[in-house]
């Protein structure tokens, strides 16, 4: 029996903690708990608890910050009234109403589909050159920086915010939605495609280069075959996302089924709401199924 063992026998064993410093660990815990308190119950809730432990007096106020950290207001009487509406919504799902707003739904779906297809095609068309430019292994530095900048801007701006600005400039209608979705597609597709190009097998591209091929020929023979399956898969996925997004752009006036949905919500026509949501869900599922088949076939 070794000395090391002797010293350990009889001593308690504890799992080594994730954060080794005890101070940091406790500090982290306190900050997290304090945040949870302030975010949910606010300073008022915190004061109540401190009062329970006798640290402060009953009815203690923190002063100005009480208004800031107000916690989450839950208006129970409003919810009680709203629950009836929730039930109506569930009933609407049991009994969706496809017929009474059929024309609106048709028009909305038509616009959504049109926006989705057009924006996906245009978005992919622009994404490919940008992806090539944003791949460090084939693009020169200035081009790389510019393309990365375009991608970052596109990813940072929420679709809805872009749509709002475009609606303000271009007026209501699907054109604003189309441009919004095309722009959003670039951030998504170009980024993932660029990463794919950066990860690809260098030897194949080098082999093509060694034959004396030009830059375009290199892309065509060395890069394209490697990233093509991924490009098609991502495009299908983006088609799916664009359709889902087109369903909300209507909320800010950028065309599509979202406008019809918004109107139905405003009129509390939950039967129609349910019908539209079911159509959206069904379309998304069909698209997912199709893209699954296509992705499986090209692999």
């Amino acid at each position: 029996m070794s000395v090391a063992l002797d010293s350990k026998l009889g001593t308690a064993w504890k799992k080594p903690p994730f954060i080794s410093s005890r101070r940091v660990r406790i500090g982290f815990l306190i900050v997290a708990l304090l945040y949870l308190f302030l975010a949910t119950l606010g300073t008022k809730g915190l004061a109540n608890w401190l009062a329970v432990f006798g640290i402060v007096e009953e009815g203690f106020k923190f002063g100005r910050i009480d208004r800031f950290f107000s916690g989450i207001d839950v208006n129970w009487s409003r919810i009680e009234r709203g629950l009836a509406r929730g039930m109506q919504f569930i009933e609407g799902f049991m009994n969706p109403d496809f017929t009474s707003r059929l024309d609106d739904i048709k028009q909305g779906m038509y616009e959504s589909v049109v926006m989705t297809v057009a924006s996906t095609v245009v978005g992919i068309g622009i994404s490919i050159p940008i992806a090539l430019g944003a791949a460090r292994n084939i693009a020169p530095l200035p081009v790389y920086l510019f393309c990365r900048f375009v991608i970052t801007v596109s990813r940072a701006l929420n679709e809805l915010i872009v749509a709002i600005i475009l609606v303000a400039i271009l007026g209501f209608g699907p054109l604003a939605g189309f441009i919004t979705l095309s722009f959003a597609t670039i951030g998504f597709l170009a980024k993932l495609l660029a990463e794919e190009i950066e990860d690809m097998n260098k030897v194949q591209a080098e082999a093509v280069q060694s034959t004396g091929a030009s830059w375009l020929q290199r892309i065509n023979f060395g890069v394209q075959p490697q990233v093509m399956p991924r490009l098609i898969g991502l495009s299908m996925y983006r088609l799916d996302i664009n359709f889902r997004e087109s369903a909300v752009l209507g909320l800010v006036g950028a065309g599509g089924i979202g406008a019809t949905l918004n109107t139905a919500f405003d009129r509390y026509e939950f039967g129609t709401v349910a019908a539209i949501l079911l159509i959206i869900i069904a379309t998304v599922m069909v698209l997912e199924y199709l893209s699954g088949i296509i992705r499986a076939r090209i692999k």
Binding site: Y35, A39, V121, A247
Partner: protein, 271 residues
Amino acid sequence: MPSIEKNGLKVWQVRDQKAQLTRWGMWFALVVAFVWSWQAISDNTLWALMGNVGEVTVDIAGRAVPPRWSYMDKLWKPIWDTLNIATLGTVISLFIAVPVAFMAARNTTPSRVFVRPIALLIIVSSRSVNSLIWALLFVSIVGPGVFAGLLAISIRSIGFCAKLLYEAIEEIDENQVEAITATGAKRWQIMVYGIVPQIMPAFAGIAVFRWDINIRESTVLGLVGAGGIGLQLSSSLNTIAWPQVSLILLVILVAVVISEWVSAKVRGAII
């Protein structure tokens, strides 16, 4: 290699004729779909009004700059609310997503016939509906405010997190589970010792990833009255207060950049 006879000569081709035709057919269909779509958009656009797009843009940009910095005083509280919607929403959704994921994963579900389809249904319906639409719904049920936004983000995130998590559960190393089973451990002990340690990195990654997305989404929930900075954006837009709009957009941009940076850092630290 396929080749065809042409004037008595063999001509090499990459694909045989049938495959070539299918390819052209698919490209043709794509072009037709695009032209048709573009036509439809064009028909619904008043091109006559587009003549002064440049002027309008310059006009709006002129009004929006400089941002009204003093409005910042009124934005701190909505920023705090937005952060809370995203963070609490992620936490709540994780609490629900974990059991749903265990019920949906083929190797941990209590019943493949009864429980698994229900779990998958929860995931699909949560995922297919955009958080803004969930927000519309909850605003009409619980009234406008942070609470509606919190519910919308939580419900929307369940499907996302549960899907990624159940895929991670299905990919675990079964040998480790088998080894724990062989010690005579009970069902829950097998879960805690054999499965949970294996999915911990995936879980943390998913949580941070979704939190990042939720920050972005909660900035616009206010547009439908579900709390956060979007409320200020909405009211500024309604009163055509462009200097305020530009300030809010700037704030959102900064918030998104920070959240992306934080999530990248945290993910880097975990994995």
